[in-house]
Structure formats: structure tokens, C-alpha cells
């Protein structure tokens, strides 16, 4: 039963069209999957002791690379995505190599990466003549009447195309997570996060192991930015870069559970459902309480880190394991 559960869930997701789901719930499902993918990308390095507050930079690089290349040079977003991959990998190497070489870890690493995400946000704002600054930017649309699918421009009128595309990316993200989890690099990095000197002394190449997961995580996150830009057809420096979104990624993962494969996914679903649940519960009054969901979210995060540091899924799995391992009390 335990083994079949994920496949049943996947089958249910794949069969979503037959339920005749409305446009807005479908949008929510897509956003859940998209953020699940991005959070999963973050957790690939985050769970190995490399807590980055700079992933807003990679998300921003992805989103703005495709939109700027398309709007100013007419370069197809498919090529743009390649450029985004190269640029984000280069940025990850440029920030990662010196950090790991000079042993910038823990608080320092978090704050240096935070600077990277702020530099990205400020650059986008400063280049306002090209990027539209704080107002954001919209990719020039080719979806005039009649055209519903523009493969070259990566624009699709149907949400179902995006649903399957992003579902595929999310599954691929989980697969990468799994592969990294099974690799020697993961063992090496776990040793490094425990005791860096001891790990180096038994012949682990600390810098290379860290760079490996950092580049994978950065590239995946920037592809998340590409998906976000092309699905929403709007990008804004505040929503795809800077400290806000970077922290949001970290907290989503912590809420869900950093050390289990579906933890980031649970975190993303939880975050979205919290906001939507409040919207439904408050109904008409929702507009009178701006940011109520964020206030509750912030409070929950504090409580999570104090009382449930393994996150929702981590704690649930642990409780389930314990129940399975302890024999049922004999009936009298």
C-alpha cells in the first residue's frame, strides 16, 4: 500500500482533465506544481547544509533572460532558456567557487547569497529602460485571435499545456533530487556539513562536491523562472528576485520538510492552500485584512522551526514510522 500510494497520486494528477476542473482551480494546481518544482530545486542544496538566501537571483536570471531576449532581440524563449541556464550556472560558479574555496559557511554563506539576490533585483530595477524597472515586463504576445499555440514563442493559450509541461518539470525535479540523494556526493556533503575538516582529511574534494549541487540547484531554479515568466506572461523584480522570494523559498521548504523528497512540495501546497483557505473562509471580508495569510504564515514558521524542525511531512512520516515499528498493544 505504501509503495502504491505515489503512483495512485500521480495517476490522479495525470487524469485531472477528466474531472472538468475550472480555470481558477487549475491555475492553483499549476502554481502549486511550479513552486513545488522551485522549492525542490532549492532543497537539493539546502538540505545539505548549504542554506542559500540567493535563489531569487537564479529565478530572476531565468525569468528576465527569456523575456528580455524575446522582447528586444526576438530570440525564441527556447534559446532564451539555454542562455538562462548558462548565465545562472556561471553566476552559481562565480559566487560558489570563492565561497567554498574560502570556507564561507553558515551565516556568512546565507548573507553573501542574500547579497547576490539583492544585486540581481537592484540591477533589474536600475536597468529600467530595458526591463521596465519596478513596473515589471510583459513578453510581447503572439497569441492574437486565432493563434492558441505558438511553440516557437513558448506561449500557449491553454492552461492544460502548462499543466502537463510543469508537471513534467516537477517530476524531473523530483528525479534529480532522488539521484542526488543516492549519489556519493550526498554522502560526501553530509560529512562536510557535519565536520568540514574531517571530511577533507579523508579525501573528499569539498569545493567540488559543493559546487556540483550548487550549480544543479541554480540551473533548475532558473528554469523555474523561465516557466514562471512564460506561464504568467508577466515578470516583476519583486516577485522573481530579491530577499522576499528568496526567504519564501527557504521557508516553504522548512514548513514542508527539508529532508524528505516530497517535503518542498508539501510546503508549496501548504503555503498556497493557507492563502486560498483564508480567502474562502473570510469571503467578502478578505480584502479588509491584507497580508493576514502572511502574518499567520510567519507565526507558523516560527512555531515550525521551534517545535517541528522536520516540517509537516517529515514529522508525519516519523510518526507513521513509529506507529509501524511499535507493536500494537495486546487487546485484553
Amino acid at each position: 500500500m505504501g509503495r502504491a500510494l505515489p503512483w495512485i497520486g500521480l495517476a490522479a494528477l495525470l487524469a485531472l482533465p477528466v474531472t472538468g476542473i475550472g480555470a481558477y482551480p487549475l491555475h492553483l494546481v499549476i502554481m502549486c506544481l511550479l513552486w513545488s518544482y522551485v522549492y525542490t530545486s532549492w532543497s537539493i542544496m539546502g538540505r545539505l547544509g548549504l542554506v542559500s538566501l540567493g535563489h531569487g537571483a537564479f529565478l530572476g536570471i531565468g525569468a528576465y533572460s527569456v523575456v528580455m531576449l524575446w522582447n528586444h532581440f526576438g530570440v525564441s524563449p527556447w534559446i532564451g532558456a539555454l542562455v538562462a541556464v548558462v548565465v545562472s550556472a556561471a553566476a552559481a560558479l562565480a559566487i560558489g567557487f570563492p565561497c567554498f574555496r574560502f570556507r564561507i559557511v553558515g551565516h556568512y554563506f546565507a548573507l553573501v547569497t542574500l547579497a547576490l539576490s539583492e544585486v540581481t533585483r537592484l540591477l533589474i530595477v536600475a536597468l529600467r529602460d530595458q526591463t521596465g524597472g519596478s513596473l515589471g515586463a510583459t513578453p510581447d504576445t503572439v497569441l492574437v485571435q486565432g493563434t492558441t499555440v505558438a511553440l516557437g514563442a513558448m506561449q500557449f493559450a491553454s492552461k492544460w499545456v502548462w499543466f502537463y509541461a510543469i508537471l513534467g518539470c516537477w517530476l524531473a525535479g523530483l528525479w534529480v533530487w532522488h539521484r542526488v540523494d543516492r549519489s556519493m556526493t550526498r554522502l560526501a556533503l553530509e560529512a562536510i556539513s557535519q565536520e568540514e575538516d574531517a571530511a577533507a582529511s579523508i579525501g573528499i574534494n569539498v569545493t567540488r562536491s559543493k559546487l556540483f549541487v550548487t550549480v544543479i540547484s541554480a540551473v533548475m531554479t532558473s528554469l523555474g523562472g523561465v516557466l514562471y515568466a512564460q506561464y504568467q506572461l508577466y515578470v516583476n523584480p519583486e516577485t522573481v528576485s530579491g530577499i522576499g522570494i528568496s526567504l519564501q523559498m527557504v521557508f516553504g521548504v522548512i514548513a514542508g520538510g527539508m529532508f524528505v523528497m516530497l517535503g518542498p512540495t508539501v510546503g508549496a501546497v501548504f503555503t498556497l492552500l493557507l492563502a486560498e483557505g483564508l480567502r474562502l473562509a473570510l469571503g467578502e471580508h478578505f480584502k479588509q485584512f491584507p497580508a493576514l495569510d502572511l502574518a499567520i504564515y510567519g507565526m507558523l514558521l516560527v512555531l515550525f522551526i521551534i517545535y517541528m524542525p522536520k516540517g509537516i511531512l517529515g514529522a508525519a512520516l516519523e510518526a507513521w514510522q513509529r506507529r509501524r515499528l511499535t507493536p500494537a498493544p495486546a487487546r485484553s
Binding site: I95, H107, L111, V112, A115, V119, G244, F251, G298
Partner: protein, 288 residues
């Protein structure tokens, strides 16, 4: 075109004025880190709460400005102590990064709470002060006041740390967290006092910022990152390094903003920060 002109000089002087303020902001954060070994990532949000406190008391309740500011400082100091008691203390034994992240939860909460209470409109005290003119240059009076008060605040903190009993205990704890409890120092009390002091410095920063800037719930995001960069640049927990770094950083922002656009000043300052981290990861004044 002359290489040295009066507007450049004005930018340099403005940079020095800004440096004094940033030095005060970094002092509180550095103190808390040096003693408790926790980065308050919500530090700028404490400042934001302080700004709203002054606004509410002065504009909405009609208190005299000085009284409102004193109450604002006290309120943020209390908030700092409360935060230590309810949020930091339970995770003191946890992984260091959890302590940083738990204050991130506080960041979200404070920002959202301010939005709930005050909306996203920009608010200001409505205090107008005439600029000071020296020759062709003119400087805003609130900035000069901020500079003088900030330096006075830094000096007062220095005296408190070196001359008072509890101040000495704070410095002792920051040097050796393990041995001092054996010497009869109650670390919990020292941590609470330090948190309150860190909060009071944030509150003082809030009083000075509220004279110059409009208040809105996200204002913490606009100078929080700068404060962190300065502290890291000076070496986290290194108070003197933080002061030096504050003045260097302020020059980059002010003069960089003078030559290009204000965001470019920040971009250059951040780029400088990243470059320095690779050259001296322990901070400009940090020892190996």
C-alpha cells in the same frame, strides 16, 4: 570639466552623514550577533515597527515628538527582549542556521502585521525642516541630526559596555560563552539585556529614519540587506569593523549614486561587498 566639483563634495559629505546612521544600525545587529551568536534577519523590521510607533504616538495620539520617540525606543527595546525570550531562546541549542531562519519568520510576521494594521499607504510625520546651506552646498537638517545623534548613540553604547557592570558581563560573554557562566554570570540575563539593547538601538535608528523617510510596511527590505552587508563586511560581531564598513559602504552608495543613478550606487556597493568577501572572508578588520 573639473575633476573635483562642489556637487561631488556634497555627495561625499552626504555619504559621511549616511555612514553615521548606518554605523548605528550595524552596531545593534553586531552586538546581538557578537554576544548571542544569532543573526536577527528581522532587524530592519524592528526598525520599521519603531517608525510606526513614533508615527502613531506623535501623529495619531498627539504626543510631543521627543516623548513619542522615547516611547518608540522603549517599545522596540521591549520587543527585542520579548523576541529573545519567545523566539530565540527555544532554538539556542538548535543548528545555527535555524536561529537565523526563525527570525526570518518574525520578519514575515512583523511585515504582515504592519500591513494589517496600517495598510500599504506611505505615511510620514509631516515634520518639515529647512536645509542647511554651506556655500553652494546644501544639506538636509534631519540627516545632520541623524549623524550627530547616531554617533552619540554609538558613544553611549561604548560607555555602557565598558563602564557598567552588566556591560562588562556582556563583553565577557561575547569572548567566551562557555566559561562565563562558571564565573557566576547569568547568561540568560545577559542575553535578555543585550537583546533589549539591540532593540533600543534599532528604536533609535527608527527615530532618526522616520525624520527622513516615509514609512511603509516593506521599508525594512530597503535597508535591511545593507545593514547585513555592513556587518559581514566588518566581520560579524566585530563592532569596530562594522563602524568602518558603514562609512565605506555609505560612500559607495552616495558617490556611486552621484555619478550614476541611486540604484547603481547600491549595485556598486553590493558588488564591492561580494568582491571583499572573496578577498577577506573574515571581514575587513577580522583576524585570521
Amino acid at each position: 570639466m573639473p575633476v573635483f566639483d562642489v556637487f561631488l563634495l556634497e555627495a561625499v559629505v552626504n555619504g559621511i552623514l549616511l555612514g553615521g546612521l548606518l554605523a548605528l544600525l550595524s552596531l545593534g545587529l553586531n552586538l546581538v550577533f557578537g554576544v548571542i551568536d544569532v543573526v536577527w534577519i528581522c532587524y530592519a523590521e524592528l526598525i520599521m515597527i519603531g517608525m510606526y510607533a513614533v508615527y502613531v504616538l506623535h501623529v495619531q495620539q498627539g504626543w510631543p515628538l521627543v516623548l513619542a520617540m522615547a516611547a518608540g525606543i522603549a517599545a522596540v527595546a521591549a520587543l527585542g527582549a520579548l523576541m529573545h525570550h519567545f523566539v530565540i531562546r527555544p532554538v539556542l541549542a538548535a543548528e545555527p542556521i535555524n536561529q537565523l531562519l526563525v527570525t526570518g519568520g518574525v520578519l514575515f510576521f512583523l511585515q504582515a502585521a504592519a500591513t494589517l494594521a496600517f495598510g500599504i499607504e506611505f505615511r510620514n510625520l509631516g515634520v518639515r525642516m529647512p536645509p542647511i546651506a554651506i556655500g553652494e552646498m546644501s544639506f538636509s537638517l534631519p540627516r545632520v541630526i541623524a549623524f550627530v545623534v547616531a554617533l552619540a548613540g554609538v558613544a553611549a553604547t561604548y560607555l555602557f559596555l565598558t563602564r557598567s557592570y552588566i556591560g562588562t558581563a556582556i563583553r565577557a560573554i561575547s569572548q567566551d560563552r562557555q566559561i562565563m557562566p562558571l564565573m557566576g554570570v547569568n547568561p540568560d540575563r545577559v542575553f535578555t539585556v543585550t537583546s533589549a539593547l539591540g532593540g533600543a538601538l534599532a528604536g533609535l535608528g527608527a527615530c532618526l529614519l522616520v525624520l527622513q523617510y516615509d514609512i511603509h510596511p516593506a521599508i525594512g527590505l530597503s535597508f535591511g540587506p545593507i545593514t547585513f552587508m555592513i556587518c559581514v563586511l566588518g566581520g560579524l560581531g566585530n563592532v569596530l569593523g562594522g563602524l568602518v564598513a558603514a562609512f565605506i559602504f555609505a560612500q559607495f552608495i552616495s558617490v556611486g549614486g552621484f555619478f550614476f543613478h541611486i540604484e547603481w550606487g547600491y549595485v556598486i556597493a553590493f558588488a564591492f561587498f561580494i568582491a571583499v568577501m572573496f578577498w577577506r572572508p573574515q571581514g575587513i578588520l577580522g583576524g585570521k
